[in-house]
């Protein structure tokens, strides 16, 4: 696949933040896996909403409230189509991936996981897909199991049969590893979960904005994503839940908007998704997420994936060929990020060094402490790319890494 049909320069021009200098050097933002930048189209959608349509949703009968409600529910529809959900009622707005996973653990997990049951995860999970399950295991007396990660950064699927047994009630795993770049075989894992009667939960934080994600094709029961990693505002995300599973999931938070009727001692709750959206939601955030989805669709996720792929292959090849003492961590076949260690420099020192030249890298454990321990690494440096990045930026990164290798050795 090539991404030649897109005018990438024009796309890059949509991002005001990228056109600045940091300490006298042009900003090179290679930290999109932590949070992506926002195109003018998304920022404008927020401004437009606040300047014309802002009001509370659902409960109002006046014009602004209708407009706000329509915009909010239109955003839900956009997200549903973006993920190919069977219905917009399967989309719950959340703060982000972390809240989505906690919602599943609290609402679904507390009801359906019992002592003696098991929750299956993998060794490459982000803390956000690990700690909520530790808390659930503590509360319920269930145990945690982990699919091991092989030396090359992929999952050891040979262990799946002995781990994914009928005691497993929930199998939760990441689509793309945020430190290794590994792309997991989600559809296979969901199928395996279903075969033993477990539900599957997919952490799509790193994938939703980077490649086509089709929840029906993947066959997952839940899928959580963060808006801020896919060009949308901070504070908004979505949780997809298959209708059949959502139907039997008890409420999460209590409050306004999620009830049918309330008396002092008892309430009845609405259907999904409203049952899971107590209180005033992040209305403008949802509108911004809708605008981000439109924007990503206008470029095409196939094109984005192809462009990310070109960048990461180029970076990998140049780093290995031209920077002494670098070791790349993770599989050769990876999503648009590359984690590495430099022999002479600790990741933090390297990040500090790069920053002085305007290059934004991330260094540390990337919320993957257990994985770092397993690989006996104090952390890694990570360069993560998105469609607004360029090969010229990678060339400049290579120069900076070369100088750093000299500086620290």
């Amino acid at each position: 696949m090539t991404s030649d049909s897109v005018n990438w320069e024009a796309v890059r021009a949509d991002f005001p933040i990228l056109h600045q200098e940091v300490r006298g050097n042009p900003l090179i933002y290679f930290d999109s896996a932590a949070s992506s930048q926002k195109p003018r189209q998304v920022i404008d959608a927020l401004t437009r909403y606040y300047e014309h349509d802002n009001a509370n949703v659902h409960r109002g009968l006046h014009e602004l409230s209708s407009r706000a409600t329509d915009a909010f529910e239109a955003a839900r529809n956009k997200v549903a189509k973006f993920l190919n959900a069977a219905s917009a009622d399967e989309i719950i707005f959340t703060r982000g991936t972390t809240e989505g996973i906690n919602l599943v653990a609290q609402a679904y997990g507390t009801r359906y996981v019992k002592e003696g049951d098991a929750i299956l995860l993998t060794e490459m999970e982000h803390h956000s897909n690990l700690v909520p399950w530790q808390l659930l295991a503590e509360r319920t007396g269930a145990s945690l199991r982990f699919v091991p990660v092989l030396e090359d950064g992929t999952l050891d699927l040979s262990k799946l049969p002995e781990l994914l047994t009928p005691e497993v009630k929930i199998f939760s795993f990441t689509h793309i590893s945020n430190s290794l770049g590994t792309v997991n075989p989600v559809a296979d894992l969901c199928r395996a979960a279903r075969a033993v009667g477990a539900i599957s939960v997919v952490d799509a934080a790193q994938s939703a904005g980077h490649l086509p994600v089709d929840v029906q094709a993947l066959g997952c029961d839940f899928l959580a994503l963060s808006g801020h990693k896919m060009c949308a505002p901070t504070g908004i995300g979505a949780l997809y839940g298959r209708a059949e599973v959502l139907e039997k999931t008890p409420p999460y938070h209590g409050g306004g908007e999620m009830i049918v009727s309330v008396s002092l001692h008892k309430s009845t709750y609405k259907e999904a998704p409203h049952r899971f959206e107590a209180g005033t939601p992040n209305i403008a955030g949802a509108v911004g997420l809708g605008a981000a989805v439109d924007y990503l669709e206008s470029i095409g996720r196939q094109n984005i994936a192809a462009h990310d792929g070109e960048l990461v292959r180029y970076a990998q090849q140049r780093m290995e060929a031209d920077v002494p003492g670098i070791r790349i961590i993770g599989p050769r076949d990876r999503s648009g990020l590359v984690g590495f260690v430099m022999e002479s420099a600790h990741p933090h020192d390297l990040t500090t060094y790069a920053d002085r030249y305007g290059l934004a890298l991330r260094g540390g454990h990337h919320c993957n402490q257990p994985l770092m321990k397993k690989f006996k690494l104090p952390g890694t440096s990570r360069a993560s790319f998105y469609f607004y990045n360029t090969k010229e930026e990678i060339d400049r990164m290579i120069t900076i890494l070369q100088e750093a290798a000299r500086f620290f050795s």
């Binding site: 600790h346 933090h348 020192d349 500090t352 060094y353 002085r356 030249y357 104090p378």
Partner: protein, 165 residues
Amino acid sequence: MIPNSDLEELYQQVLLDHSRRPRNFGELSEADATEAGEKVVKVQGDNPSCGDEIVVSVKLADTGLKLADIKFTGQGCAISQASASLMTIKTKGRSRAEVEELIAAFHDLITKQTENPPDILGDLQLLQGVWRFPQRVKCATLAWRALEQALREGSASVVTTEVEG
């Protein structure tokens, strides 16, 4: 690329040397407290945002009034390792009061621009460049916070507590 003077001030060769070959690297154990009035205290310091870890062991003598011995182990960036190494050199054998003075002077040194650093700091001035890198202050203070905690706990015998950097 044009050399960056802030970086050069931060990562002086002597400092990088300390980070690669830290002095007083190791642990003390209860058995090291042989005399009356001596205690060994160990404190683990973590910097959760970056994963740096350090264990500082001190032997207090004179019922806590003197820092008779000090060692550290751990892993982390050049700043945290060099800072810990230099800290052990400068504090070993000093009175509690002197150590407290050092702690305060060091903290000032790395958090604000200092024209004439007090003499007591000696080689610790190698870390002066940190003040231009506010995000790295936590790295430079990790070992020191563990030491402070150790002094506070001088009354218990061998304790291991954690501080968060």
